[in-house]
Amino acid sequence: MQIKIQNLSYIYNEGTPYEYKALNDVNLEIEEGKITAIIGETGSGKSTLVQHLNALLLPKEGSIHILDRNITSKEKPKNLKSLRGDVGLVFQFPEYQLFEETVIKDVAFGPKNFNISEEEANKRAREALKLVGLKEEIYEKSPLELSGGQKRRVAIAGVLAMNPKLLVLDEPTAGLDPDGTTKMMQLFKDLNTKHNKSIIIVTHDMEQVFKYCDDVVIMAEGTVKKHISTREFFKDSSLCKEMNILPPDIIRVKDMLKEKGFNIDIKENTIEALSEAIIKEVKHG
């Protein structure tokens, strides 16, 4: 078990008229080596929860056990820095954190903060940039000259270069074009399968959850409503409807066809299986 969150609560602006309880008694266990999606409406506490994972926010109540460290309401983790190195947190619109003169310097900034030699940091930066699919000719450019999608990649490379064990991404594809989104999600999938990284993604996109994630955590009103495997969650649309979520296209198509009286029964929710089933129905029906 990599992460175990118990009775976690968090309140913003405590003791002022703007007091707001963002998390209320959250209990959650996340396993190693998986891609876990956190979904939920705006204001359901997703971002607040995620910021607890590297102790940017400390719990008001409850405790977090993460990568063999404990964070509780009473005690700050002793080696905060090493925790931040192990949990790579990528914020929403991370391109706004770029500040160095060149792309490579910016990416190397993270590892250098963890007392890694200049040389090693540069080496890691190159690897990370390669991993996110950026070409060598932009390494010496100013990050401010790049396009939006490229900046996003640089920012993510900046976190990857720290070589975290767990990668936490808050809406990493928000504002990217469809092509960029697919590439980005594929990158996370590769990091998970080839580089053995556990990944947590906060997202609004059910297609991404469906295609890339192993588990799904549904949040509402500051608590975890459900934690379930993706396959189970999208088995049919009943759970989605219960949680007031629009299911992915493939499930909606399947449901619509069933409603019209076609006999579609597939074991795996893939395009191939669905099209096969449709062909079978049309031929024999």
């Binding site: 940017l56 954190q97 903060n113 963890f114």
Partner: protein
Amino acid sequence: MGNITLGKYIPMDSPIHKMDPRAKILAMLLILISIFFPVGWIGYSIIFALVSFVIILAKLKFSFIWRSMKPMLFMLFFLLIINSLAIKTGKPLFNIGDFVIYSDAIFNTLYIAVRLLLMIMITTCLTATTKPLEMTLGIEDLLKPFAKIGVPAHEIAMLISIALRFIPDLIEETQRIMKAQESRGVDLKEGKIKEKLMAILSLIVPLFVSAFQRAEDLANAMEARGYVPGEKRTRYKVLKMAFRDYLLLGASFITLVGMIVLSKII
């Protein structure tokens, strides 16, 4: 950021809150000027009573004003030390070692403290009861007569209201970037000087970039909606002077005249 009280707007339902900002700004100026006349303890007592009356009318708490005064105490303490060193008139009160402190030093400092307290009370009466937007509208109108000698009244007001509008945004942005950089191992509290400089740099550069970006976006959005600086514009909110506004102005004016007369008598 939450504990700064000086200049904060306090939403309340009071007759003072409903007054015309122009009347309030002018009244504040008149009373502020009257403080600068040497009217002695009698004069200041009268002003204190009048301003206290307004504060009670505005439903403000005196503890709120006290909190605004707190940062000034440090300054007053220094003033007391300097006065004790410099002023050697009046009766000798007591001595610390060989050093004698005279009564005038204490009185002088108290005198300034009272003036400062009054000033804070008066300005708080204005800022705590006037929404920032109303304030800028008031400033714009009051600056209008000076447009003839080249004061860009509307532009100044627009500048102030845009600046006010962006303060909370920039605070939020700063916190966001701080968190992002902390996640990359930046330690804003500890570390060597060189590391600290780097940490500050990693904060300031993105903040500037985003501030410029926001400014450009806003300029484009304003132009797209037909904003031309210097052009005549109508207003959504039209200011109107009511009886109570004239009453406030009249009372402030009488106070000022009264204080001038008082200062001549004393």
